[in-house]
Subunit: 223 residues, 2 copies
């Protein structure tokens, strides 16, 4: 029984890693599509989000099957329940990447972000890509140092998000209402990438260390 | 065993209903605080969100305990897993109500929403309150007709959200960047109340009818 269970847990871990890699790809492509007004790439992200949704369904079914067949308790049970929650978080990150791509597509052939904020959004993109890449690494290696670096990129994303408000509320802001709307929504999407990355990181920390004060981060979603 | 399990399932259902009532209260108060620039009420919503977060943790622990002690399979297992997901959705709705309250608090003593859109936001508030109230009723009664009415209020929220963009992008829009930012974010929060309400509704429909095409609404979160 234990061998079967371990094999299934391993498969569950691999599913999460595969899903995380897809999310990493989506965030990377969405940011490039946004920065370069690349319609084809934006549409690719939008279509590919269906595959992320499908991975979530697959992963959830695997969890339910595992709960029914193996009836795990204690730590094993918490691993499966955490996997269910991480798949929901990863799916949501995929949605956010799709939202970024939809803004890029909606403004094509123009760029959604005004010139004055293109540097800020380039930094947000880089931080979000790092969050996603490290999330995959963390799921693969369970190296807790990686979790910390995700938290610092989340702090950076919060600071960059605040910078967008400072820019829009300063006297120099001469953008159109459409640009103000787009910057507001895009800033929020990028900030949420950080929150969700930290949520994943803290769940992995919780599974590795059993530290409830760091894990089970319900309150993180409160950002 | 079955009697204990049924008693625990009943308690689980009651927890969800209690959480839904708290969310209903939060949405109601947040909307009033926003419309009337009521600082005290806004702060109450912000503080009360901690209780909703605590209810989620309590509910999740109950689910994990139930999975470990009762080892449910088939429909029973799906009920517990659905409860886990519904608690996460309700917690998220509490966060959104808090976000609305935070906008109201941030603009006090002024009103966040410009006069020209106060009617639209009054309608969004009413629709969101109906969604939340019916969500509670649905969890209490499992009356599937209620699920349909939640979907129509979600459609109404989407239409009202679109109206806010039409207003901001029309030539008549003379609001400040702060107002444009606030309307953009508030519109999104209200639209998300509808999405989450539909997600809850479809999970209940799924549990009652077993209809997978209507339930397990992963794709709903894609809105």
């Amino acid at each position: 029984m234990r061998e079967i269970f371990d094999a299934e847990l391993k498969a569950l871990g691999e599913d999460l890693q595969a899903m995380s890699r897809k999310v990493e790809q989506a965030i990377t492509s969405a940011g490039i599509a946004l920065a370069t007004a690349d319609l084809g790439l934006a549409e690719q992200v939008i279509v590919d989000d269906l595959a992320i949704d499908e991975l979530e369904r697959h992963l959830d079914e695997r969890c339910i099957h595992l709960l029914a067949q193996q009836q795990p308790v204690a730590t094993d049970l918490r691993i499966v329940v955490s996997a269910l929650r991480m798949s929901a978080t990863l799916e949501r990150m995929g949605d956010l990447a799709r939202h970024v791509a939809q803004v890029a597509r909606g403004r094509y052939p123009r760029q959604a972000v005004p010139q004055s904020l293109s540097g800020t959004f380039a930094e947000m993109h880089e931080a979000a890509v790092r969050v996603a890449r490290r999330m995959t690494t963390l799921l693969e290696t369970r190296d807790l140092a990686v979790a910390e670096s995700i938290e610092s990129d989340d702090d950076l994303l919060d600071a960059l998000h605040a910078d967008t408000f400072t820019a829009m509320l300063g006297g120099e802001w001469s953008a159109t209402p459409q640009q103000t709307i787009d910057v507001t929504l895009l800033g929020r999407y990028y900030e949420r990438f950080g929150d969700h990355g930290v949520s994943i990181a803290q769940r992995v920390v919780y599974l590795v260390t059993g530290d409830l004060t760091k894990g089970e981060p319900t309150n993180l979603r409160a950002h």
